[in-house]
Symmetry: C2
Subunit: 257 residues, 2 copies
C-alpha cells in the first residue's frame, strides 16, 4: 500500500517533465567494453584529458582499476579505495568509461522516500523508449547511500568478479549529493552494463563511489536522451588477447549490484 502511494506521487512529479530538443551531435563516447573489464583488462590508453574533450557527464574506472570514476559538470573525479573523491589528474588513463556532452532533455522532480529500484522504475516512466541511450543526473537529499570503490590492482590482474569480493563499502546517511548514471538498452549488454548504472558524489565532492543501494528523500532528475554511441576499442595486447566470448550477464550483475 505504501509503495503504491509513492509511485503515484512520482508519476505526478514526472507529469511535469519538460522535453527539450536533442542536438544531432549528442553522442555517448565509450572506452572499451564491459566484457574486457570483467576479464581484467585494466590498463588504460585514453587519458582523462581526452575523455573530458568528449563529454562532461559520465562514469568509469581508472588504469589498474584504481578507483571509481564520476564525471560531473566537466570535472573527472577519482574515488579511491578509501571512498574519498579527488579531481583526477589529466594524465591518468581509463580502461573503461563513458561520457557525453550532457543536456537535460527530460527533467523531473522526485518526492517521497524511494529506494534505488523505485528510483529506476520512476525514471523509466519518463523515458520515450527503452531502446535509446540515456545519461542521468539525480541531485538531491539521500537518507542513505551505500557505495563501494575498488582498490588499485597489480599484474597479473585478477578478473573483476574476484576484485569485488573484497570491495571496500561505505555508507552515507542524510547526505546531499548527485547520482551520475547511464541507462543502456538491453541489446547493448555485451558492450556496457544493461539498465541503470550509477556512481555517487557527495555535494561537497569529497566522497563517493559505485552505488549499491540508496534511499532518496527529495531530488531532481535530469535525463539526456542520446541517439548515438561511439565505442573506442583498446589497441593493447591485453584487450586483443582476452577471451571476450560467452554471455556474462550473471557476472555483470554480480559485480555491479
Amino acid at each position: 500500500m505504501r509503495r503504491t502511494l509513492i509511485l503515484i506521487l512520482l508519476v505526478s512529479g514526472l507529469a511535469g517533465c519538460s522535453a527539450g530538443a536533442t542536438r544531432d551531435d549528442d553522442v555517448l563516447y565509450q572506452v572499451s567494453t564491459i566484457a574486457a573489464l570483467l576479464e581484467g583488462v585494466y590498463d588504460g590508453e585514453v587519458t582523462v584529458a581526452a575523455l573530458r574533450s568528449r563529454g562532461d557527464v559520465g562514469l568509469g574506472t581508472f588504469g589498474a582499476l584504481d578507483g571509481e570514476m564520476v564525471v560531473l559538470d566537466g570535472t573527472v573525479y577519482q574515488v579511491t579505495a578509501d571512498g574519498r573523491a579527488r579531481v583526477a589528474p589529466d594524465d591518468l588513463t581509463t580502461p573503461f568509461a563513458a561520457v557525453t556532452p550532457f543536456e537535460s532533455d527530460i527533467a523531473a522532480s522526485l518526492d517521497g522516500r524511494i529506494d534505488l529500484r523505485e528510483l529506476e522504475l520512476a525514471l523509466d516512466l519518463s523515458l520515450p523508449s527503452r531502446n535509446l541511450i540515456y545519461a542521468v543526473k539525480v541531485t538531491g537529499e539521500f537518507a542513505y547511500v551505500k557505495v563501494r570503490s575498488v582498490p588499485r590492482q597489480e599484474k597479473p590482474y585478477p578478473k573483476l568478479a574476484e576484485v569485488v569480493k573484497a570491495q571496500p563499502v561505505f555508507e552515507h546517511r542524510d547526505v546531499r549529493g548527485t547520482l551520475v548514471g547511464l541507462r543502456m538498452p538491453a541489446y547493448a549488454k555485451g558492450i556496457n552494463v544493461p539498465g541503470y548504472h550509477f556512481h555517487f558524489l557527495t555535494e561537497d565532492r569529497t566522497e563517493g563511489g559505485h552505488v549499491l543501494e540508496c534511499i532518496l528523500t527529495r531530488g531532481r532528475a535530469d535525463i539526456d536522451t542520446t541517439f548515438a554511441l561511439e565505442m573506442a576499442l583498446p589497441r593493447d595486447k591485453a584487450f586483443a588477447g582476452a577471451d571476450l566470448s560467452g554471455d556474462r550477464q550473471g557476472e555483470v550483475h554480480a559485480v555491479e549490484k
Copy 2:
C-alpha cells in the same frame, strides 16, 4: 585429408600478410541495430548519400527491406528481389547498414578450393585479435556462390524471420566477383551479426546478394582492422516502440545463414 591439405595451403598463403598502419579515424559507422531489423523496423532515416559520406565499403539493407546493400569502392549497390544489382539512388534510405573508409591492413592470397566456412577459418588465422572489428573484401574466382535477396515489404512489416522463409535464392557458377563483409566480435552480438557476414557482387556488378554458401577457387583477401564503432540509433516511433529485449542468437543464425 583433403581438408587438412587445403588449410595448410591457406596458412602458407596467409604467411605473406602485410600489416599496414591503421588511421586513427578508422571507424565503422553503423545505422541502427540487428535487434531492430529482426523485429521488423524497416523504415530508413539515413540516406545513401549520408552513408557514402561515412565509408566506401560495407553492407546493409534498404528502407522497407527493399533488397540487400553492397557498398564497394565508394558505390552503394542495391540487389533487389530478382537478384539484380543497380547503383542505389542517393535519396534511398537504410534502416540498417554499416560502412567504413576501407584501407587494407592485412592482405592475403587464397589458393585452393574452399567453402565459406573454410574461408572464414582462413581469414581468422590472419587476424590480430577476435575482439576487434574488421571489414573484409575477398575478390576472386568462385566455382559457386549461393545468394539470397529480400523482397520489399508492406506495412505492417513482418519480422525478418518471417520474410526470409520465402527469400528468393540465386546460384552462380564459375563467376568472378567480390565478397564484401564484416567480422564483428562476439560481445557485439546485440547490435550486429557476430562473426562474419558477407554480401556478394559479381565482377560486372550486375548481380549479387546476401551470401549463403560459396566455393572460392582463387582470390585475394583484404582486411581492414577497425578500432572504433559509431552507432546511430533511429529517431522513429517504430524503433522506440520495438521490443528489443531478449537474446536473439537463434534468430540471427536463422536469418543470416
